[in-house]
């Protein structure tokens, strides 16, 4: 159903739009993760808090990244 639906303004197939959105999100996520890692690794004064932050970060964000990827490529 969605494969043939078009976004009216750009005439872009919805599935392509969603896949494009996924790659944009992936780019934002990768850049943000790199910046976050750099800051915590360089400026934090407590290694335990740094590690906990990273564990929590990946535990919370990776599932959403997975869901975005799965929905974008299975539509």
């Amino acid at each position: 159903m969605f494969g043939t639906t078009s976004v009216p303004i750009a005439s872009l197939p919805l599935a392509t739009g969603m896949q494009l959105g996924f790659f944009v999100m992936l780019g934002i996520y990768a850049i943000f993760t790199a910046i976050l890692y750099y800051h915590w690794n360089t400026y934090a004064d407590n290694r335990v808090v740094s590690r906990l932050t990273f564990v929590l970060y990946f535990l919370l964000t990776l599932p959403f990244m997975g869901v975005i990827g799965i929905t974008a490529f299975t539509i």
């Binding site: 969605f2 919805l14 999100m25 943000f32 976050l36 400026y43 974008a72």
Partner: protein
């Protein structure tokens, strides 16, 4: 890590490190959490509206698109949340027996590190305004120095500001006393 970057002087001891009060980060993270759950609340409201009144019917194949949109929204708010937490944790006052180092993490690429020697401290002022800061004991600390370039440092939302003020004043007195005895240690 931070202390390796700051490069303390030989024999310099860190007396305390102070971050903003937990209430400050709690309020910030609560507002991010509210944003996080906005789509969930919106979907619940839409689900409660009878289909004949609702142009956006949740039961007719929009599930994948909704899941995609909601996931994007939630991921972005999570990134904002971690950004907030990072700025909170990396923003701190470091009081040593010789100087005060103030690290202001305004944004990821906007970081200001100020340092002034205790013997240059002229005045330290505490300001607690409002009901919540009074009960939870947090407030603004202002330090005025004799430095020519920048002579006023302040930070909002610091916990136990009077205790911190007393600690800094005590350390300043000790520093001045030791400088009187051994002036060559400046």
């Amino acid at each position: 890590m931070l202390l390796e970057k700051i490069e303390l002087e030989p024999g310099e001891q860190v007396l305390t490190t102070v971050r903003k009060h937990w209430f400050v980060i709690l309020v910030q993270l609560l507002s991010v959490s509210t944003m996080f759950f906005v789509p969930v609340v919106a979907i619940l409201i839409l689900a409660l509206i009878p289909p004949e009144w609702n142009a956006f019917d949740l039961h007719t194949g929009y599930t994948t698109l909704l899941t995609y949109g909601v996931s994007c929204w939630m991921l972005l708010t999570l990134l904002i949340g971690f950004n907030t937490w990072t700025h909170y944790f990396l923003d701190l006052w470091l009081v040593t027996d010789r100087r005060i180092i103030i690290i202001d993490q305004h944004a990821f690429f906007n970081r200001k590190i100020s340092s002034f020697r205790l013997e240059r401290l002229q005045d330290i002022e505490v300001e607690i305004i409002g009901i919540i800061p009074t009960f939870l004991d947090f407030g603004t600390l202002r330090a005025q120095t004799a430095s020519a370039s920048e002579n006023d440092f302040s930070s909002m939302g610091l916990p136990n500001p009077r205790e911190l003020q007393a600690l800094i004043q005590g350390a300043t007195d000790k520093r001045l006393e030791s400088l009187k005895q051994r002036p060559d240690t400046i």
